[in-house]
């Protein structure tokens, strides 16, 4: 905290800017606020996010630009000029376009380091801000050759000050990473969900957990996502083009009803197995092998509480929970994922306690 440049000016008191300001105030850091919408600043001030900056205030040592992506580079450029000794960062969700635009303006890039706190909500604006929005979230920081190490350190300190987890990546790597782990999945979820528009009511009624998981993010806000996809068009296109080629390959394999086709299908499915192994599990760690223990839980108040109390009594740590939804009947199955070795002891303990465990 001693190394965090202060005071901090937050330009843009929307959801992220105000949440960041609230988190900094929680740590006692002096925060100045600006927004071209005076009402938004007033809400942020009212919520305790800091003070509206005036001409009499001391110059900020650190400026955080938290405005919409398309406006980001211009506001960063202006901030670098206004405050000639301040470090300036931004929080736009796509990094290469911002850096490229700044390079084109001839701005003093030694004092600029971009970033992307990986947090968001379905809602926006300062009224929806929360001091803990960034807690435990990855905050990607994107150094570039012209930036000083002091500027990079300042943004790392900023992330740590608000309890986020700094992760260093080049801007290009960040944009490719979010294309594959976030933007391409969004597109595929939307395209898959759209296929249901041509299915009968009965067909859709037999859907299970797999389809529910695969279409959850298809409910996302189109106006937000069109901006993100447009800003990161090239990396997203690269991922989706490669996937489209894989899909064409697989379609050819489906048409070839012979051993060659089957081999290609198996290969695609095996590559999927291997890729899934790379997805981080609980606490960002490599996924430990877990087993799901399915327990029948009556749809009545208090049953989930009783169940998890029983799990705790068995001394077992829960890795994940899913509720199985079943067709037509008021009963449900809760899948409790636990480490491989404790699944059977847990099942025995729960059965001894009167729970119906499917195994």
């Amino acid at each position: 905290m001693n190394d965090l440049p202060q005071p901090v000016l937050v330009v843009g008191t929307g959801l992220i800017g105000t949440s960041l300001a609230l988190a900094l105030r929680r740590r006692g850091v002096p925060v100045q606020l600006e927004d071209r919408d005076a009402a938004a600043v007033a809400v942020a001030v009212e919520r305790g996010a800091g003070q509206s900056r005036t001409g009499d205030d001391a110059d900020p040592a650190l400026v955080v630009v938290a405005v919409p992506p398309a406006a980001t580079a211009g506001v960063v450029d202006a901030a670098l000029a206004r405050f000639p000794s301040a470090v300036v960062t931004d929080v736009a969700s796509v990094k290469v376009p911002v850096l490229a635009a700044l390079e084109a303006t001839g701005a003093d890039l030694a004092r600029y380091v971009g970033g992307h706190p990986m947090a968001g909500r379905e809602v926006s604006g300062p009224a929806a801000a929360r001091a803990d929005l960034l807690d435990d979230r990855a905050w990607v920081i994107t150094p570039h050759p012209a930036a000083t190490s002091a500027a990079v350190s300042a943004i790392q300190e900023l992330a740590l000050a608000v309890r986020a987890l700094p992760v260093l990546m080049a801007a290009e790597e960040h944009d490719r990473a979010v294309a594959v782990v976030s933007h391409a999945p969004q597109v595929l979820s939307s395209l898959l969900a759209a296929r249901l528009l041509e299915s009968s009511e009965t067909a859709v009624s037999i859907a299970g957990q797999g389809l529910r998981d695969m279409t959850r993010i298809a409910a996302s806000d189109p106006s937000l996502w069109v901006e993100i996809l447009a800003a990161n068009a090239h990396p997203v296109s690269d991922v989706l083009t490669a996937l489209r080629d894989d899909l064409d390959h697989l379609l050819a394999a489906l048409d070839a009803a012979d051993g060659v086709g089957a081999a290609a299908l198996v290969d695609a499915l095996r590559r999927g197995n291997a890729g899934r192994q790379r997805v981080p599990g609980k606490h960002g760690a490599r996924p430990a092998p877990t087993v799901e223990v399915p327990v029948v839980v009556p749809d009545a108040p208090g049953e989930l509480g009783r169940l998890f109390a029983a799990v705790a009594d068995a001394g077992v740590s829960v890795e994940d929970v899913r509720i199985e939804h079943v067709l037509g009947r008021p009963t449900g199955v809760v899948e409790i994922a636990v480490a491989q070795g404790v699944a059977e002891p847990l099942a025995q303990a729960l059965r001894a306690g009167g729970w119906e465990v499917r195994a």
Copy 2:
């Protein structure tokens, strides 16, 4: 139950056949068992699934063929010939190929009605069977013009006898339905997960819940899925070809960095919203609007039990539960989905009880 033709012969004592037989025995129905693997029959008998059929036994009134998909039509055909007054069904996960093969043999199709109990496990064989495997599961029954209504009723009675939920569909409709709600999602999950093989460790480390949900079923068994995909190649190809065309359209929109491209992106995302609305929620019903209440839960035994007990004390019914996994720190956020109107009262009640609710 009075209308269920008895005795029942189960041909194929694998996971589904033995589970079905156990469920029928639970209801007191006489069950005969056959399998070309005598050891498998012995295990099923030992587990109480019925008796190994001998030449002295009465002819079955109902035959359930539960053998691998590729062998199904031949075994059904033989059963129709061996037992000239029995109703015969099967449980293969793809229905058109079975019916088409039987039509080609000139079998007595008046007594045949196919079916597909929508249940499965990661394991197989009679030792893994459970009497409750089919409880609350949809059991798709696929009548065809040549089948008698008595034969259709018999299979409905069978489904109800084992506590499954009969759903009537034509074979073609079933195969198209599982292509879109199960087989295409499996392929997309595998293809998306495979894209991670080309990503850096750091890139994958910033993945969030969206990617985890989208790649969960990519962990499925390739040898099982290659059979399913090959058997349902045409309907799966139809769904995936339409999706590939949508994807090409979207890739063109990403390349066109102008208003026309943005409009196409928004359209694709909106269609995804609409499709997601069709996915059934809890208890097979249309998804009621729910809101997620995020609660910070210390990673310690008993905390989940305490939390759900508190939710029950607040008198709130839980619609769904997800555990948010965060990067690097031993703390977690549990997202409790509840009906829209009770989210705020629940949040207040939990905060009053000392829980940290993010909102």
